[in-house]
């Protein structure tokens, strides 16, 4: 393996930490980000790699020919995109086993960062599908099924819009909660006016189902059990922030509409 120049090490370091960051941004587990970064660096002959990853940052330090190099990469965006995780995984494997240049790999990585597979309408529709089938799991009927479908599509549209505006996690969820509750209330009031029996709570449960932090809390416990305690705490805090924001949004909307609509509410 040829010896690396100083600038080559820098490029390699930046590429490895960016790969780790793309993984974190898209909801990969902590150990996966850590091992990917280590794998990329050691494939180019760097023997002493220390990577410390938490969901909000990557701390990286390497030793090469008696010199220490280090880099910190911040991460502020957390979502779940399993397609991108798969592609980064493939890229890192390809990079480690062959002699792909760092420049080429970086171009591919930036490509992955922007990639998306399903268009907006498909995503909205399937948010509706999953919410409405969740109402059936919570013993809802056909009315609740339809209500949750409509409310959830509207909610998903609003949260996608806020995500595009780079709104914070807290703001996204608080508005998501407000919109989900408002749409469910509007649907239920309409049902009451038409004389159809409806359980509003089940519709609200369905509408918020795509936002509740179930996967976040499970990943938090998973990280803690595997010994990544700081990551575990970080993801737990994330789950708490999400649920507090959601509850605030839903409760405020419910309370306000009780005051305004009074007897019309089911």
């Amino acid at each position: 393996m040829p010896a690396l120049e100083r600038y080559e090490i820098k490029e390699l370091l930046l590429f490895a930490s960016l790969a780790g960051r793309v993984l974190l941004e898209n909801g990969a587990e902590t150990y996966r980000a850590e091992s990917t970064v280590e794998h990329i660096l050691s494939s180019r002959g760097i023997s002493n790699v220390q990577a410390f990853v938490i969901p909000t940052a990557i701390f990286l330090s390497i030793e090469y020919e008696n010199e220490l190099y280090s880099h910190i990469e911040r991460n502020k965006r957390i979502g779940i995109d399993l397609m991108r995780i798969t592609r980064v995984n493939e890229l890192s494997r390809e990079f480690s086993s062959g002699d792909m240049s760092v420049t080429e790999a970086k171009i591919k990585l930036n490509d992955i960062k922007k990639s998306s597979q399903y268009n907006l309408w498909t995503r909205l529709l399937f948010a509706g599908v999953s919410s409405s089938f969740f109402t059936l799991m919570y013993n809802g009927g056909f009315v609740e099924f339809g209500g949750a479908m409509i409310a959830s599509v509207i909610t998903a549209a609003v949260t996608e819009f806020l995500f595009a505006l780079d709104a914070s996690l807290f703001m996204r969820n608080i508005f998501g909660g407000v919109v989900a509750a408002a749409a469910s209330i509007a649907f239920s009031v309409l049902c009451v006016l038409l004389g159809i029996e409806v359980d509003m709570n089940i519709i609200i449960i369905g509408a918020i189902m795509t936002m509740v932090p179930g996967v976040a809390i499970t990943n938090a416990v998973r990280d803690s059990i595997s010994g990544d305690y700081v990551s575990g705490m970080s993801r737990t805090s994330e789950a708490i922030v999400i649920s507090v924001a959601l509850v605030l949004g839903v409760a405020v909307t419910l309370n306000a509409s009780r005051l305004l609509l009074g007897g019309l509410m089911p």
Binding site: L82, F126, S130, F133, I205, I217, L246, V247, A251
Partner: protein, 148 residues
């Protein structure tokens, strides 16, 4: 709810999440089927009178093991089959309900629902870790046998 309808509803609920999580198109149906199988086992255990923690643990182990098998077969990371697969189990609504109870100052409800949700999350997480550890050992064993 019968076993069949619970399988069907959880399949479609998981499918929706699989699209939201941007699973590669080729694996949409397999990932959702994984969730449905796990949830059917959960329903079966609950109908037989098992505890909620055991049912979640068993469901998560199943989802994890099937995920490892699929990952091995398609040469993809197991996460893409496991994350959608655990969607029917995860206590998302439980955590929401806990927070709601705290906000309504219904503290005893919050404690009981909160600890239940936490234990469900622990059951799922440990189920997944058990299955991934088993998967890892099986892979190492198979590789060692191939090498000799």
């Amino acid at each position: 709810m019968t076993l069949f309808t619970s399988g069907l509803t959880s399949f479609l609920a998981t499918l929706g999440f699989a699209v939201i999580f941007n699973i590669p198109r080729r694996h949409l149906l397999t990932a959702s089927l994984n969730g449905a199988l796990g949830w059917m086992l959960y329903t079966l255990i609950m109908q037989l009178g098992g505890t909620i923690i055991f049912a979640n643990f068993a469901g998560a182990v199943t989802v994890g093991l099937i995920g490892e098998l699929l990952a091995n077969h398609f040469r993809k990371p197991a996460t893409i089959f496991i994350i959608p697969g655990i969607i029917p189990f995860v206590p998302g609504y439980g955590i929401f309900y806990t927070m709601e109870s705290i906000m309504l100052q219904n503290f005893s409800e919050a404690v009981s629902k909160g600890s239940e949700s936490f234990m469900i999350a622990v059951a799922i997480a440990s189920g997944l870790i058990v299955s991934s550890t088993v998967g890892k050992y099986v892979r190492t064993y198979a590789r060692r046998r191939k090498a000799t």
